[in-house]
Amino acid sequence: MSESRIGEETAQGLAANSLWQLITVRFREYTREPEALFWSFGFPILLAIGLGIAFRSKPADLVHVAVVNNGPRATPLADALRRDKGLAIEQLAPDSAAVALRTGRVALVVLPDSGGGVRYEFDDTRPDARIARLMVNDAVQRGAGRGDVLPITEQQVRERGSRYIDFVVPGLLGMTIMGGGIWGLGFSIVDQRRKNLLKRLVATPMSRAQYLASYVISRFVLLFVEAGVLLGASALLFGVPMRGSLIGIAMIVVVSALSFGGIGLLIASRSKTIEGVSGLMNLTMLPMWVLSGVFFSSENFPGAVQPFIKALPLTATNDALRATMLRGVDLPGLWPQLAVLTIWMVLSFSVALKIFRWR
């Protein structure tokens, strides 16, 4: 009897708490918006699955080579080349061989010449053509009696962590954190300002700090679910490794979520229209999607812009996530990225709070 009364009062106490109310409102608005659920959970997983299939590790491709039927030497030469399992050999008439080379169906055309030698035709800017040239030449020379001068041994290594899917999953997680912070705060706050709801709320005794805290806290809870689902799904489906500590990953997620939350708040701090804030959000996120190494390494950009790229918050997030997930780097080794993120966080929050338009 007395126990149930205590329980009741606690429930009332919590229900009467304004921070709790604000946070539950955030969740209700979120979970009652099916599109939002898809964009934060379904989309990153679908993207990971799509990319995982497109870039799956497969046995090394066969190298396609044409041997031109221009005389009696063609067939023995083709048979000799067929012994190399890495080569796919077809015998073609001269003109169809030329077409096959031009359209890229074969990487190399082999012509037995009248002097007993062999002529190669290929496009030297194509990597697979250069490989074909090396493989075919090796087979031709061996067939003519050339042997190895040095003895060699080989070991083939295919390791988890060096595949494309392993590269892209941390990038997708970083992108999710950025999107959640920027869309999650930006849209909702501007929508409330546009509808005069923000003004209505500041006309009550509501604490403004609690209002903003409700966004940050609800983002955190959602983010841990999102990150858990994305990492869990990629570990299960693709065996993406998690070499670093969970605490390290959690720390990166928290700090980057705070800095993107601050950036989201800054973007939302003045806008009165959804169109206005959408433009600002795209302007902020688009360069980072391209530059910050989500889908391909940011090292591809020239050295001169690297310091700028490294200073972007998404680059810092992606680099830190990759370092800990793929290489097992622990927290102390992540300080440069965490420092970049902390600077973004402090700057964006302090400017946003200063210029925030409550009415």
Partner: protein, 315 residues
Amino acid sequence: MSSLNQSVPALFVRQLHKHYGDVRAVDGLDLSVAPGECFGLLGPNGAGKTTTIEICEGLLSADSGDVQLLGLNWDQNEKELRQRLGIQLQETELAAKLTVEETVRLFRSFYSRGRSVDDVIHLVQLDEKRTARLGKLSGGQRQRVALACAIVGDPDLLFLDEPTTGLDPQSRRQLWDLITEFKARGRTIMLTTHYMDEAQILCDRVAVVDHGKVIALGTPRDLIGSLGAEHVVDFALGEGQDGLDDPTLRGLEGVRAVRRVADRYELQVGALHRTIPALLSLLAQRNLVLSHLTTHSATLEDVFVSLTGRQLRDE
């Protein structure tokens, strides 16, 4: 309520000024609202009503002038004032995805004291809609949710900015009942409206506002009485007919004032049973035929027209 000192006005405004660019939205406005009074700010759109009420609500800052609420002011007592005021803004879209109960509960959580969520929902007659999302409600129902949010903190002073604008007649009457009920609890209400009937029914006193200034102040009855006429006769003559001049009309028994609006004549009269026969015999004498004749009791609308020479709703 007993703690409230009756000698301190619930709302006191002196020489309020606010301009936007070249436009003087509020131009030296004075007001004093007594505790327990329902006070109406009446005027056409653009008269400065909303600017005035939002300055009182602490949502806008004035260029100059004094505002005191419940003996407190925004500079020093913001926290306490926020707890003691109830506010309904002119256009607020509350979150469409939340239910009535969730919305009222959210607003209740901001106030340290107040009424229970159930009571307030019952008071605004939305018991059956408590689990309905706001997006599914009618305009009148949504406006009642907004009122519920404004009174859930059990305010000493309630601000209502155009509470029934855009509602159908039935919803308006329903809201009037709710406001009257709140008033019966002895709380002070300040509302703005451009509906004369609304002010006449709800307000103990009204201030007629035009171009950011109070141009008339009093009880609706006094203001109408100031016309010196209880009725208005509105008539028009058949096509092509003329020949009535103002002095002739003013000479008719019981006529206090004459106004002409296009081809219409408007007579403010004290007693219809004297004026109408006199008017009809005058027309018969001159062989003039009526194409239109109506009478109505004088309203605040007529007060506004006689003060400004303009119709309220044409604005």
